[in-house]
Amino acid sequence: MSAVASQKVAFRKRTTHALRDSNLQQAMGKARGGFIDKRLEAMAALPEFDEIRDAARDIKDHVLANLDGYLELYEQKVIENGGQVHWARTAEEACEIVADICKEANAQVVTKGKSMVSEEMHLNSVLEAAGLKVVETDLGEYIVQLAGETPSHIIAPAVHKTREQITELFHEHHSKLGYTDRVTQREALVNEARSVLRGTFVTADVGITGANFLVAETGANVIVTNEGNGDLTSSLPRVQIVTAGIEKVIPSLDDLSVLLRVLARSATGQEMSAYTSLYSGPRQDTDSEGPDAYHVVLLDNGRSTMLGGSYRSMLRCIRCGACLNHCPVYSAIGGHAYGWVYSGPMGAVLTPLLNGFDDSVDLPNACTLNGRCKAVCPVHIPLSDLLLKHRLEQYRRRLTPLFGRFLVRVWAWIATRPRLYQGLMGLPLWLMHWRGRRRGALEHIPFAGGWTDSRDFPTPAGRSFIRQWHSRKGKS
């Protein structure tokens, strides 16, 4: 089976499974309204929101147009601060770099703050294969790690899990650590996770986080969290590693403030997350604590190629998750159905670009182009337009089913010949009308089971408007 065909089978399986998963549907239903309402409240409270959004987009566009220059300036600053910058062309290269750093440090335990780039790299499995114990510390990431799953949302990794499911996971994994009670209340679940992870934070050898931003002005990486796990991961171990896509660099601290203002509001409706932190290198003589070594691993993995084409705007993405939260398709099928680390509209745009078009044929098509994603993106990425562009690209590459393409071409050929079109439509219309006029709707249409399996199809009138109009005109 071709790559395209097997992708279609896999996608169909995942979406069917997701739509039937009552736990997932329950969890997604609860989450949806909250994210949407909180963002609306945050916007209503900030009259300058649109202006700030425009400024955020402009900053990102300026950086992308000068990406090489800013990366070099950023790198210079990190080195001045005593840190090291590593460049990785591919995910494999990046994993190798991180694994080597851990090996050189004789590391045994690695804590991780939430990093989508590290998921993109499949970093955990590489480190585990190298004999390291890797512990996710963001509560949502910790939950999915216990479940042996990948995150299903870029900022709420366990959004697909119900409280009951989390209770079972904790009971299963924590009993052997001495936590024998089955804990059901939210507060108690959080307390148990806090207690379980405390020891790991202080004994970890290496701490790995992502970076929301990399600031060229000071050589700092910025992490935005609410739990504090990212900071415990960054500051306690003796080696600190930051993994980030090359597009994360921004010029100055003032630019950072603009982006921070739209980030938390778009993600969770907050004005500021509980912890927004800037880390700039290993401990200095003037520090009482801190890592001995500070490493930044910059990942390309297809991003530099995106710069040159018509998809550059996708690199503006600040990973806020607003598009996921507002997408009715994502809300119906959840993140895992997308098949990779990035889901929702941003995932549907990014996955074909980073992973290849062959493996992700359904993503741009499992979309109604309703445009909500474009409307809410804090940096004005025209997501739904880019998804349509993907469809045009797929067509050019002949990735869509031949028969479907043929049908559309035939139909379009007829549609450019109105008299023929009306002539050909006459009989089927009349037949459908005759069959369904009493009931008003057809319960079954051959070859259109996709519609009629779950919906009636309103009966056509039997004679087209154009024919009726022009026969009336003829009479009068």
Binding site: L67, G69, R89, G228, D231, L232, E271, Y275, G290
Partner: protein, 218 residues
Amino acid sequence: MTEARTQILANIRSALTGGEPRTPLRINELKARIESSTPKAQPLFEDELLNRFCQKHVAVHGTYERVTAQDLEGGVLRHIGAHQVDPQLYLGAGPLLDAVQWSAQVFTYFKSADQHTQVAVSEAFAAIAETGTVVLCSGPSAPTSHNFLPEDHIVVVDSARIVRHQEDVWTLLRNREDAAARVVNLITGPSKTGDIEQTIQYGAHGPRRLHLLIVEPV
């Protein structure tokens, strides 16, 4: 991995400049843009700074007490007394904090926090009225672990150091005479998570409680 670096930069340049390297002039222009950077698109508000700061802090589940510089120990004791916490204080540093003559009622530690630390008392470098945020900088006597490991984090805030916008903090940092801080933490309320059923719970991994002692001039 300098080969990777060369190739990535070459890829970027081929996408942006048709393969031409950036001229030193252009690099200097980018540097100049950074150095002359100013705030853009800030939210405007005319609220009095202290009031706004306190209001925003409380809205994110923080608590505070307005005290004099002489009553800092009193402020600490009142907070930990209310939560029945032992007076074992891990202390940071700052002009106000350094001036406190701690009594025998408390035990003070000047070292990094560990997983058993209950209370840390820090002094903020500055505070931001816009969002109710306290700014903590790492330093020789101000360990970052104090901000994240304890159950209770008490932060002394000099009301004269409350600025209007986040960018005002950058200005203060740029003009600092001390060496640049390795870590700058912008802290807004206590630790929390919404990862279970999208409902907020406090005390995820960082401090459960963030209590401010706001010092006003007498």
